[in-house]
């Protein structure tokens, strides 16, 4: 049982490829080992910005055998009258490269035949690992690839060394002009190497003592712990998201945690600006004390100790320069209130569409007012229109020109200086993933409908990997807002308001996202499909139907409910232009009963659950109906009448959507 170690040494890999690339290596290695029929116990993958590391433990020495079965001549041709092998059989054996002992006779549908059971494999694993390694490395996929040498091998960044050992033996192979060997390199500056690895078991300790924390999980946990420790030392708390932690983990090979400070004067700048600069531009970890932002930050550095003083001072100067810029912008921006910027919207054109920001705002207004009317929110109409007037004006500010990701937030912050809460909060949250205020939600819905329809109208329809305007994300957020907040409005009229050129295309695009949204809410696929079959363009209606179906689906009565409904549908689905049901043609009591049930059924039943309960008696009623009534009689009048009756029955189930989707999976 041996251990194989493969280290792909590279120039700094982009932090964004992690953790996906680690999963890729795990999955692809397992597939390759399986395909090569190599038995093993376990695999481990580690990564730093400069190396991807694979351990395969418990390797057998020899490849697993494979037994191939090849059909040969029929038995009566294979053996002579004495039961000895004929020339035909011997020829077959020779061609397959096996021996006569490998032949077995088996009966098939065409008679008895000779079958050769050929054993292949058994190659030493040592001879396969080089090829396997090459295949693995070549199969790794990245969003962006580059070549750097003569063979034009493609990878994320240049590969500079390959370490490949089976216990203590080098597994030789060559890729991208690099030959595998037993050397690795430590931390770029603290222990550059080269470092000889005599045997696989030496690797981990050698790297650890060369300032490389190769285990990314250990590195991440270490960073988290040390950051928290450092923060608590000054009675502060780190503002550390999973995303930021993941990123800084893959920006260092050995983390040093360093605390820096900035002048308190900068705390007068709104917090969102400071944290955006610190996190997105510098990858610092901001700190807070007693709920407010503290004038300090933590650097996750790749060097420390003697260098710490320089690193702290250098970073402090950088952040001070950036914050000075921000302060300058803030001062300039606040000297012109948002209201005075409205006229400038006419001068800004829109990427990917005709017209200016002012045109966009006016079109959004049509949608917004439609929403307000549909939801009867007249008391906030004025405030929302004011918010709409202002929500794009922050694009003319220095701050948003410098930090475009702050659009919306800056609008809210600047509006806060002059406007009431309903207005500024609507602006502040309207670009957020999770708008906190109804006004923000309505603005967001208006904007996203506008974005999607106008881009589709211009022909920018997302496909495959092409979605330059992020319409998929917009659509998902739109659907979530409508579904999560039960905002029950038909989107069809909104598409009309926006002069949508192809409503079906847009609706299809939205339903794809709605499908994913409902699945994400834990609703079973067939129930989602049923709800999507509703004749509506209201996301909230579809969502509520799906949610109700989910609740109902666990009832014992559910399966029969479904089959009864679908039975009505199936028998009538291909029949068109049926005359209205005429009770004078009824011949059997069950027709009469069914008819009365339909007529007596309450017309306005808004609760789906109540509808379900009220429809349950139909199960038995239909069961008796189909037992006693022959629908497809020769007499056309009677036949059509019965079909018409069943079609009307099925209509009672319409608010549940397309139940045939559910029936399929029962």
């Amino acid at each position: 049982m041996r251990t194989f170690l493969l280290e792909i040494g590279t120039e700094e890999l982009p932090a964004g490829i992690f953790p996906n690339i680690i999963e890729q290596i795990e999955d692809k290695t397992k597939n390759l080992l399986d395909r090569y029929r190599i038995d093993y116990k376990d695999i481990e993958v580690f990564a730093t910005p400069r190396r991807l590391v694979l351990f395969i433990y418990g390797l057998e020495d020899i490849q697993r055998d494979e037994i191939k079965k090849v059909k040969g001549p029929p038995k009566n041709v294979s053996l002579d009258s004495n039961g000895h092998p004929t020339k035909a059989l011997l020829g077959f054996v020779e061609r397959q490269g096996c021996s006569i002992e490998d032949i077995k006779f088996e009966t098939t549908s065409q008679g008895e035949y000779a079958f050769a059971y050929i054993r292949t494999g058994g190659r030493p694993v040592r001879d396969l690992l080089g090829q396997l390694s090459k295949e693995l490395i070549s199969s790794l996929e990245f969003q962006r690839n580059m070549y750097w040498e003569d063979t034009k091998f493609l990878f994320s960044r240049p590969i500079r060394w390959l370490l490949s050992l089976l216990d203590d033996e080098v597994i030789s192979f060559e890729l991208a002009g690099v030959k595998s060997d037993r050397y690795t390199y430590g931390h770029r500056f603290l222990a550059p190497g080269p470092l000889e690895i005599k045997a696989v078991e030496d690797y981990k300790d050698t790297l650890r003592s060369s300032f490389v924390m190769f285990d990314h999980r250990e590195r991440r946990d270490y960073i988290l712990k040390e950051v928290e420790k450092r923060a608590y030392e000054i009675q502060a708390k780190p503002i550390l998201t999973e995303d930021l932690l993941n990123e800084v983990t893959f920006l260092v090979e050995f983390p040093f945690i360093i605390l820096g400070e900035f002048s308190r004067e900068f705390l007068e700048i709104p917090r969102e600006i400071l944290t955006t600069v610190m996190i997105h531009h510098q990858r610092y970890i901001p700190l807070e004390k007693d709920g407010s932002l503290y004038n300090g930050f933590i650097i996750v550095s790749n060097m420390g100790d003697k260098a710490e003083e320089n690193i702290r001072r250098g970073n402090e100067r950088v952040i001070s320069a950036r914050f000075s810029d921000a302060k300058f912008f803030y001062k300039r921006d606040t000297s012109i209130p948002l209201k005075d910027r409205i006229k400038d919207l006419e001068k800004i054109s829109l990427p990917g569409e005709e017209g200016t920001l002012k045109d966009k705002v006016e079109r959004m207004r049509l949608v917004l007012n439609y929403l307000i009317d549909a939801l009867r929110l007249y008391d906030i109409k004025d405030d929302l229109n004011t918010a709409l007037d202002l929500c794009e004006t922050d694009r003319t500010t220095e701050m948003v020109k410098e930090f475009p990701e702050l659009h919306g937030i800056m609008g809210g912050i600047y509006a806060r200086l002059n406007e009431k809460e309903e207005v500024w909060k609507s602006i502040y949250y309207h670009e957020s993933e999770n708008p906190q205020v109804l006004g923000a939600k309505l603005l967001a819905i208006s904007e996203k409908m506008y974005d999607i329809v106008s881009h589709f109208n211009e022909g920018y329809i997302p496909s495959g990997s092409q979605d330059p305007y992020g319409l998929r994300k917009s659509a998902y957020t739109l659907v979530s807002l409508l579904g999560d907040n039960d905002i029950d409005v038909e989107l069809g009229p909104i598409m009309d308001i926006l002069e949508c050129k192809d409503k079906n295309e847009v609706w299809n695009f939205l339903t794809q996202r709605l499908y994913a949204y409902l699945l994400n809410r834990g609703i079973k696929r067939d129930l989602v499909e049923s709800a999507l079959g509703l004749d509506t363009t209201s996301v909230a209606k579809i969502t509520n139907t799906a949610l109700t179906l989910q609740k109902l689906s666990i009832k014992d009565s559910f399966p029969l409910f479904i089959t009864s409904a679908v039975r009505c549908y199936r028998i009538t689905k291909d029949v068109e232009d049926l005359p209205a049901c005429d009770p004078s043609y009824f011949q059997i009591e069950d027709e009469e009963n069914l008819y009365r049930f339909i007529k007596d059924f309450p017309k306005d039943m808004s609760s789906l659950e109540e509808r379900y309960e009220t429809l349950l008696p139909l199960v038995e009623m239909l069961d008796r109906f189909f037992k006693n009534v022959f629908v497809m009689v020769d007499d056309e009048k009677i036949r059509n009448n019965r079909l018409s009756l069943l079609k009307e029955t099925y209509r009672l189930f319409a608010p549940f959507g397309d139940l045939t989707k559910v029936e399929e999976r029962l």
Binding site: E11, A15, M146, L251, V252, I311, N315, V318, A321, S324
Partner: protein, 283 residues
């Protein structure tokens, strides 16, 4: 270390790496990449190692001399190593040591940043090099130039000279940099920053610039027809700079912007194509 010493030390270092030291291209360009010493030499198969200072004009970044960190024109030190040596990152680190920056006393990191020039039809993958949190160098492996995939990959190392000098001199305002021991950066360049910002941001003439662009574009095409690729490229660079002026002056709508970029790119592509064709290397 004064500003000019930074430049001389770096040029000296790269000279020792067998780069030829050429002079800045004598036209308005936005980056060292646009000089023919990079643009054309990055195409084709031959070996090429060059280093030069390139004054780089970015009219839209002009701040009238009021911003301590941002300039409408700044100095890049451009290095091309073709083919890219396998230890190119190590060589770069050595160049920092030549400036007195000891990697054991600082946090030097390669942080993903991919470069792209839509006007040149060029892109590459690489990094920003961070020195204690400040970006001092753009490091790129070219993948495409003039719309064509490169045959031999060049490593491009572009130093931000003012940034490095500010770091080394511990200055917070670029205009306070010591150019030599007696003269500051502001003494040399402040007026230039003020006047060129006023020109580019406030006083450009729309008609003049547009006509100028059209004339240069026409001339570039005429020269391409005459197979005079280097003069044609000069006119392409003129178009590129005029576009930058139109853009900085806010004279372009979004669609116009896209259109102008396309026109410059078309010229750059033609130059690249013709260059390789004349070398007999067009695939």
């Amino acid at each position: 270390m004064t500003f000019q010493e930074v430049i001389l030390k770096l040029l000296d270092f790269w000279q020792e790496q067998n780069c030829i030291i050429t002079q800045p291209y004598d036209m308005e360009v936005g980056a060292g990449t646009m000089s023919p010493d990079t643009f054309f030499r990055a195409l084709g198969k031959e070996r090429w190692n060059v280093a030069y200072v390139q004054p780089s004009r970015r009219p839209a970044d002009g701040r009238f001399g009021e911003n301590p960190n941002r300039l409408g024109k700044y100095y890049q030190l451009q290095v091309i190593l073709k083919p890219a040596p396998s230890n190119v990152q190590d060589i770069y680190i050595e160049s920092l040591k030549a400036l007195g920056i000891d990697p054991l006393l600082h946090d030097i990191r390669f942080v993903e940043d991919n470069w792209e020039s839509p006007t040149l039809g060029a892109w590459g993958l690489g990094w920003e090099v961070w020195l204690d949190g400040m970006e001092i160098t753009q490091f790129t492996y070219f993948q495409q130039m003039g719309g064509l995939p490169v045959d031999v990959v060049s490593a491009e190392i572009t130093y931000g000279l003012e940034r490095i000098a500010m770091y080394v001199q511990e200055k917070d305002n670029v205009f306070d940099l010591l150019w030599n021991n007696d003269i500051t950066y502001g003494d040399v360049r402040f007026q230039e920053e003020v006047e060129f910002s006023k020109y580019a941001l406030l006083n450009g003439d729309n008609r003049t610039l547009r006509d100028f662009f059209d004339d240069c574009e026409r001339e570039a095409n005429r020269l391409l027809g005459l197979k005079l690729v280097l003069p044609a490229y000069d006119h392409t660079l003129k178009c590129s700079h005029i576009f930058n002026l139109l853009d900085a002056g806010g004279m372009l709508s979004y669609t116009e912007r896209v259109s102008y970029i396309g026109r410059v790119r078309a010229l750059a592509r033609e130059c690249a194509r013709l260059y390789l064709e004349m070398k007999g290397e067009l695939v």
